[in-house]
Structure formats: C-alpha cells, structure tokens
C-alpha cells in the first residue's frame, strides 16, 4: 500500500458533494431555471454543522448514533474504489463483498434510526427501503459475477484494471448489460427518479427522504454528506466498469475518471428530467429486470 493511493479516496471525500450539485444544475437547465450553485451542498453542510440539533421526545440513542455509523460506512467504502489501473488503498480478495455489506450496514442504521422516531411516515419509508434493498442486492452480486467470470476472482482493483479497448471489442455486450444493471442500482440506491424523488419531502410515496425527516443540524449534515458519498461510490463503480482505462496512458487516467464521474451525474440529471417516477408497485419489477440484465450477461458469457 502506497500513500499515493490515498489520493483517490481523498478526492472522493472532497468532490462527492459537488456531484449532487452537478445533477441539480442539469435538472435546472432542463427545467429552464438558473438553479442553485453547484457548490450549494458545501454551503448547506457548512451551515448545518454550526447548528444545534432538535430531537423528538420519542427517540433514543439510536438516532443519535445512526448518522455517525452511516457516514463511517460510506467513508470506508470509498477507500475500496480504484480508478482504473490506479489501485485503491484498501484492496483484497473479495473486497467488493465487504463493500456491499458496508452499504448494507449503513442502510440498517438508517432504517433503525427512522423507526426510532415512532413516526408512521418514517416507518413507511423504512419498510420500502428494506424491500427494495433486498431486491437490489442480488442484482449487484450477479453483475459482479459477470466480472468474476471474465477476469477471474480477485480484488475489485485488479478486476477493473483489466478493462481495455480489447475488452470492449470482445465482450462489449457484457459491459453494457452489467453497466445498465448497475446504473439502475445507482438510481435505486441513491433514491433518484424513477424509483424515488429526492425533491419531494412530503409525499406518501417517498422512500429515502422520508426516513431522514427528523434529522437536524450536524446529524442532517452527516446524512447528506453520506448520501453524496454513496452516489460517488456507485458512480465510481459504473465508471470503472464502462471506461476502458487500461488502454489509456497513466497520466490521462485520473482526468478521464473524473470526466466519467461528471458524465454519469449528467446522465442521472437527464434521466431525472425526462422520466416520471414509477408507481411503488412497479419498482420491484424494475429491480428484478436489472438483475435479469446481469443474468443475460452471464448466459452470453457462458455461450460465447
């Protein structure tokens, strides 16, 4: 492990809030508005960290500890992300399994903190969150299995560092299928349209936003920052999968990676602008569909 490798998570920790700013800017452009500054989330976080907290009388320690657990999970998960050939500081055989389960722990903490308030709104959000997460996880692992089958089983950094232009020529279909599947996961896990709407704070159909209704002050800052890190993690997975970094000269890889991240955010913004959100009952079908994409990729790989 090299100290240079810590640059990757460091950049992630610094730039993650910017990514949500980019999405909002894209959405504003589509809507014909000027929209908030791309740095808005930084201002919000700074402001929230200086405030005091308000807690419901129904709550216990859980809601006070929850945000720290969620943020710690996301911070650690960021350290496992490579940039193409540039290895992550934390990498070992099967690290991607731990990454998925760290996200699971974060979700568990969010859900428990939501139930801690005793609000039926938050109970509703929590119930939906666990339902969609249970369906999304197999989809993630099936996508990973395609990578394992193609590159052999090793750490995430080693697997994605092999993706090059030749990989695209020989098995581009696989990458596209898994990429699509993981992009759907990105939308689901980060509660974006068409699964959830980050803008509607008071609707009966919301999922993630409703679970964080009772946070305030520094707790809300932790939660918002953790959410932006989660977006960074999923986007980084998609970029690592789709961009053939192996074929690029080393000094070009980092800028390409960042450009890829921005493009994913633009794509999310476009999707949010042109799609309506789905009815809740339809979402399981989308998730199972995305798992099927990975399964198709597996079959293609086995046949070919």
């Amino acid at each position: 492990m090299n100290t240079m490798h810590w640059v990757l998570p460091l950049v992630g920790w610094v730039l993650a809030p910017l990514m949500l700013g980019i999405i909002n800017r894209v959405k504003a452009l589509f809507a014909g508005r000027r929209g908030p500054s791309v740095w808005q989330l930084y201002y919000d976080l700074f402001k929230l960290l200086q405030k005091a907290s308000v807690y419901s009388r129904s709550t216990s320690t859980v809601i006070r500890v929850g945000p720290s657990v969620v943020l710690a999970c996301m911070v650690l998960a960021t350290t496992m992300l490579p940039w193409g050939e540039w290895q992550a500081p934390v990498t070992f055989l099967g690290d991607i399994i731990l990454l998925a389960y760290l996200l699971g722990l974060a979700r568990f903490a969010t859900v428990l903190a939501a139930l801690d308030t005793g609000s039926s709104f938050e109970g509703m959000g929590a119930s939906r969150e666990v339902q969609f997460a249970a369906l999304a996880e197999p989809s993630f692992f099936l996508g990973m299995l395609v990578l394992v089958l193609h590159f052999g089983f090793s750490g995430l950094s080693e697997m994605v560092s092999e993706i090059s232009f030749e990989t695209w020529q020989t098995s581009g279909v696989l990458l596209i299928l898994v990429g699509c599947s993981w992009f759907v996961l990105l939308l689901t896990e980060n509660s974006r349209i068409p699964v959830d709407d980050p803008n509607t704070h008071l609707e009966l159909t919301m999922i993630h936003e409703v679970m964080v209704l009772d946070y305030s002050g520094p707790d809300l800052a932790f939660i918002l920052y953790a959410a932006s890190l989660k977006m960074w993690i999923f986007a980084a997975l998609v970029v690592n999968l789709v961009v053939p970094m192996h074929s690029l000269v080393p000094w070009l890889q980092a800028p390409t990676f960042l450009l890829g991240m921005v493009l994913v955010m633009v794509l999310v913004g476009v999707v949010e602008s042109i799609l309506a959100r789905l009815r809740l009952l339809q979402i399981p079908k989308v998730l199972v569909g995305s798992a099927l994409l990975s399964l198709v990729a597996l079959i293609v790989r086995l046949m070919g």
Partner: protein
C-alpha cells in the same frame, strides 16, 4: 477423553441430586452449577484437540448386541462442542432467574436441562451407530420434556406432540440408515463403517436417509415444521439452547455420515445447495410474516440452517469436482456459521426471553419503546440483529464471506456447473441477507424503538443481572469473533480436515495451503476494515459532540407532517412494515387476512388481522397424516385396554420370534 466423559457426567450427577429437592428454590442453581463445572472440565480436552493432536478413542465394554461404548474426540466433534460449552452455561445461569417466578417445582426441568446438555456432548463423541441412536433418543426425549414445561396450556402440549412426532420420524430414518450401513460394514462402529465398500446407489440412498433423518432435527424445509411450534412454546433459555445448539447436532450428524460414505457425488452437493436455498429464502420469508417474536426467531433458525446447508453443499461439490479450494471454503464457511449462529441466535432468544419476562407478551405489535426501559437487552439485541443479518463488523459476516469466497473463487468459465453454483450462492445469500436485515429491522425497530403500543410495554423494566450478563457475554462474542476472524477460522481447520478426509497437517501444504493463505489474507483485510469502522464511528461521534453547538439539544414531538398529536396507535406496526415483502412471497406464504374496512361517515370499530400458518404443516403434513390415520384406524380395534389380550400379543410375538430364530438356525 476421560476428562471429557467426566465433564459430561457432572451435570447428570448434579441433575439427579436436585430431583429429591425439586421444590427447593436452590434446585436450579445447583443444577446450573453442575453445568458450569461440567462444561469447564469438558472444555480442556476440546480446546487441546482443536489446538493439537487428536487423543485416542475411549472404548468401554458394553454388553449390547452390535453396540460398543466407543467415544472419540476429533476436530469435527471438538468444534461442534464449542457452541455447547459456550451457550449451555450462560443459558443455565439465565434460566435460574428467568424461571424464578414459576410456581411449579423447577427441579425436574433442571434435571432434563442437564441431561440434554450431557447427551449433546456425548452424542458428538459417540463412535458407534447404536450408541449414537441411544444418545440421540435421550436428547430428543429430554428436550421434549423441556418444551412441554408449561403443559397446562393446550398449545404447548400441541407443540410438544409436533416435536415428538417430528423427532421420531427423523429417528426412524436414522434407524434405517444405520441398519443399512451396519449391514454393509458388518459392524456398527464408525471406524469400520468408514471402510465399507458402498455401491454409488447405496451411498446415495444412505445420503438421502441422512438428509431426512438429520434434516428433521436441523430444520431443512419442509421438515422444519416442529421448529416454529416448539421454540415459542419452550421457556426462553431452553429455546436458546435448542435453536442455537441442539439443531446443530443434525448438521453434525450429516457431516459425520458424510465421512463414512466415501467420495461424494455432485448430485449430493446440488441437493444440499437446493435445500439450502429453499430453506434460506422461505425461512426468512416466513419469518417476515410473523408477529410472535419467538416464532419469528424460530423461522430464522430455518434460514440460517439453509445458509449452513449452502456452505456444506458447496463443499461437497468441491470434493466431487476435485476443487480443494471450493471444498475447504464451503465446509469452512458452513461449519463456522454453526458456531456463529449458535452465538447470535441464543443471544436473540435470551433477549426475546427478557422481553417476555418483563412485558408478559410475545406479540411484537403490542410492544415498542423498550430501549428506554431495557437498555442492556436492547443493545445486545441490536448487536445480534446486525450479526444475524450478516453485517460487518460482527461474526455472521465472516462465515457468509467464506461461503461467498468459495462460490466466487471456484468459478471456471469452462465448467458451467461452477457458474450455476456461484449464481445460486451469491444471488441466494445476497437475497437472504437483504431479507434478514429487513426482518430484524422490523423485529428490533418495532419491539424496542418508537413509542409503547400497549400497557405491556409501558411498564417494562430491565431484567436482573443474572439474565443480563449472559446476553452481554454473547454480544461480546459476536463482536469478538468478527474482529478475531483469522484466529477463529484456524479453529475450524481441524473440523474441515475431518470432513475433507485429509489430515490436519495436510491443510498447511499444497494444494490446500494456497486457499488457507488467500482466505487468511481476505479475513485480515476484513478485520482491518472492521476495526477502522469501529474507530471511525467513535471519532465521528466525538467530532459531532465537539462541533460549535454539538451538545445543544432541543426536544420536540416527532414531525408528522403538521399533525400535532400523533399517538402510539398511529405507529407503523410489524405487519405493515413487512407487508410489501410478504406480498412478494404471497404464493408461498398463504397469508390469511381477516377484517373489514371502516365504512361510512361514522365508522364502527373494526379489526384487521393477518395470520401466516406454516405452509408445509397445512398443505403437506396435515393431509399426509390424515391419510395415514384413515389407513391405520382399523388397527385401533387391537388397542382396547384389555391387558390380558396385550399379554397374549406379547407371547405370540415372542413365540413367532423363537420359531423364526430356531428355523434360521437349521
């Protein structure tokens, strides 16, 4: 070995001692003391076996035809002893306080508890088919008497019958198994059975019998019907012992038989993988639909047995395909999960027991907000919930990780079988893990968080120290195994070597050493990340407190979108929380909904309830037993209560046997 037998005898002796004073308040404490001493003595040979050489088997003369009193302690037996030695003393201590309010004499329950523990320990070391079956039966009977402790309730008696019938269906299959295997080998000693030359068909028949016989005890779907009945009916410390430890004797028996059957075929592995997937997914789906806290936990035992079966199935496929890495990691993950499940499941049952003890109800929808009155129980329960959902940094993640590693590391693009296995294991485990997290978010969230939903929960109080400390120790074990994963996995290696049929030393050489090193490397990485996670959480909490206004807190009501006076009755309930997921599985669950919707401008009071009876019980076993009943009812005429005719039957049978034997001699 002698020390081990002595350790098993101490609880029995003290158990017998308390029978004359069974009405005394001191009886359970004396019996529990016996468990502590006995487990302490037995722990010495167990640990030395796991650490070093296997001591020779102990043989004692026994004048039973075909039987021999042979006891042996190898890596497999020793590893399966660990959960018993850990959980039994803690549950015994817990039970002393838990049962203190009972008006009934407790001596006989303590006696059966001690017999159950001794029989489990002896079962793991029995090296003769007949001896094994006798101990197996003692174990079943003693646990039956513990289940029916509250026999004044009809539902407890009903649960007891279900358990007794299920246990004996299993024993029936085992009788046939040992009879067939003994005939092939001309001996009932395990050592000689292992040398018997079996045809592949015979071996498969024996394997299926073992799956039925041991699967009934372990709780493979659809043989699991007794678990959701017996675990809620039994006193909580007994449920902890039965669910955490006793059902694992089924897994032990299966693995032991596998060592006797020679080289496994791939079909056996697939069979276990399918059983594992079905038990895992349906177990957790049924758990989601339950309102009874202990019944929910019982279904989670089915789920975890499914995970163990997945691991063992992967291991068997590894042996069949000659992939040592797959075999080692599969068996290793499955066997380690046995220990892990024992730790967190007994902790969960003890926690549920504390809730029942303190509130008097097991119905999740009547509870809520207990974290404020029962802090210790809540904290240990949430640790166990995270552990059973397979979340880092706790122990459940370690064993599930090994099974993932087995399946994903074994993938070869030229062998489609490995890919199908990886899809089954990775997809299955991910789904099971997600659903388990959902279920425990529901269980912990509805029971311990929010506002109390009834007066039961309002007046709850924390339980006494003798009930609290066992839970704390088990919670520490959940975290400890997670953080000391490489060391714990080293303890599994002797057990894996027995199942793989290679000496322990060979695991340190090629082709096994590569796998060990790889797994150790990964586990070290996990331990680093887990430890950093804990440190980071603490740092973030400290940072959060030292922010400019971090310590200021204002109190207010929960934000209910402007509604000013939300009451506890408006909270989300367990049923509503799980409804989206149970609806996804409705074709398997068959949930029944009763009630009417409120109607008109001034609606009358109305009720709504859901029930999810066990599908296997309703649609498989109930019709089956009705059918058997119809065929056998004419035979009732033989059973009429006239004793002289019964004596005639006995005389007739003896004469027939004599004729048969004498005729055979010529």
């Amino acid at each position: 070995m002698e020390a081990f037998i002595l350790g098993c005898l101490v609880p029995i002796v003290l158990g017998v001692c308390v029978l004359p004073i069974r009405r005394s308040k001191a009886a359970p404490w004396i019996a529990a003391f016996g468990v502590w001493v006995g487990c302490g003595i037995a722990a010495v040979p167990v640990i030395s076996t796991l650490a070093g050489p296997v001591s020779p088997a102990l043989q004692i003369a026994w004048s039973m035809p075909g039987g021999s009193l042979t006891f042996g302690l190898d890596g497999l037996s020793a590893f399966f002893c660990l959960p018993i030695l850990l959980v039994a003393p803690l549950a015994a201590l817990y039970g002393c306080t838990y049962m203190a309010r009972e008006k009934k004499p407790l001596g006989s329950a303590s006696f059966f508890y001690n017999v159950l523990i001794a029989s489990m320990l002896l079962l793991l070391t029995a090296r003769n088919g007949l001896l094994f079956l006798v101990i197996w039966e003692i174990m079943a009977i003693s646990s039956f008497f513990l289940v029916v402790f509250d026999d004044e309730h009809a539902h407890v008696r009903q649960a007891g019958w279900t358990y007794l019938v299920a246990a004996h269906i299993g024993t029936g299959a085992l009788l046939v198994l040992f009879a067939l295997l003994g005939k092939q080998a001309n001996s009932l000693d395990f050592d000689l059975m292992a040398k018997a030359a079996l045809s592949p068909t015979m071996a498969t028949i024996l394997f299926v019998l073992a799956v039925i016989g041991f699967g009934t005890k372990a709780g493979f779907i659809p043989l699991h019907v007794w678990l959701p009945e017996a675990h809620p009916a039994a006193p909580s410390h007994v449920s902890a012992l039965m669910s955490g430890v006793m059902i694992k004797t089924g897994i032990y028996g299966l693995l032991r038989i596998l060592t006797l059957l020679g080289n496994p075929s791939a079909a056996w592995g697939w069979m276990l993988v399918i059983i594992g997937l079905v038990s895992g997914i349906l177990g957790v789906a049924f758990a989601l639909a339950q309102h009874d806290l202990k019944r929910l936990l019982a279904y989670h035992s089915v789920e975890n047995i499914g995970i163990i079966a997945l691991g063992i199935g992967a291991g068997l496929l590894g042996l069949a395909w000659d992939q040592p890495a797959l075999a080692m990691l599969g068996f290793g993950g499955g066997i380690l999960h046995v220990l892990n499940h024992a730790v967190f499941k007994s902790l969960l049952f003890l926690g549920a027991g504390a809730v029942v003890h303190s509130t008097g109800t097991r119905d999740i929808d009547h509870l809520g907000g207990l974290i404020k009155s029962m802090r210790w129980t809540a904290v240990t329960f949430v640790i166990a919930s995270a552990a059973i959902s397979g979340l880092p940094p706790f122990n459940g993640f370690v064993s599930e990780f090994l099974i993932y590693l087995a399946a994903l590391g074994g993938v070869r693009s030229e062998a489609p079988g490995t890919v199908i296995l990886a899809i089954a294991v990775a997809g299955g485990l991910a789904l099971i893990g997600g659903l388990a997290a959902a279920c425990f978010a529901k269980a912990f969230g509805v029971v311990f968080l929010g506002e109390p939903r009834s007066s039961h929960a309002t007046h709850a109080e924390e339980v006494g120290a003798a009930m609290r400390w066992p839970m704390v120790v088990l919670a520490a074990a959940c975290l400890g195994i997670g953080l000391l994963a490489p060391a714990v996995v080293k303890m599994v290696l002797p057990a894996v070597s027995v199942v793989c049929g290679v000496p322990v030393g060979a695991l340190k050489e090629a082709p096994y050493a590569v796998t060990t090193d790889l797994a150790m490397g990964s586990l070290t990485g996990i331990v680093y990340v887990s430890a950093s996670l804990l440190v980071l959480v603490i740092c973030l909490l400290l940072i959060r407190r030292h922010l400019p206004r971090g310590k200021e807190e204002a109190a207010t009501g929960t934000w209910d979108c402007g509604y000013a006076r939300p009451t506890a009755r408006m909270e989300y309930t367990a049923s509503s929380f799980a409804q989206p997921l149970t609806d996804l599985f409705r074709i398997f669950l068959g949930t029944r909904k009763h009630g009417t919707a409120p109607n008109g401008f001034f609606p009358q009071p109305t009720i709504f309830e859901t029930q999810t009876p066990d599908a296997a019980r309703e649609y498989l076993f109930a019709p089956l037993f009705r059918l058997i009943d119809r065929f056998l009812s004419p035979m009732r005429r033989m059973q009429h209560g006239r004793i002289h005719e019964y004596l005639l039957y006995i005389a007739l049978v003896l004469v027939l046997l004599l004729i048969w034997k004498a005729g055979g001699a010529q």
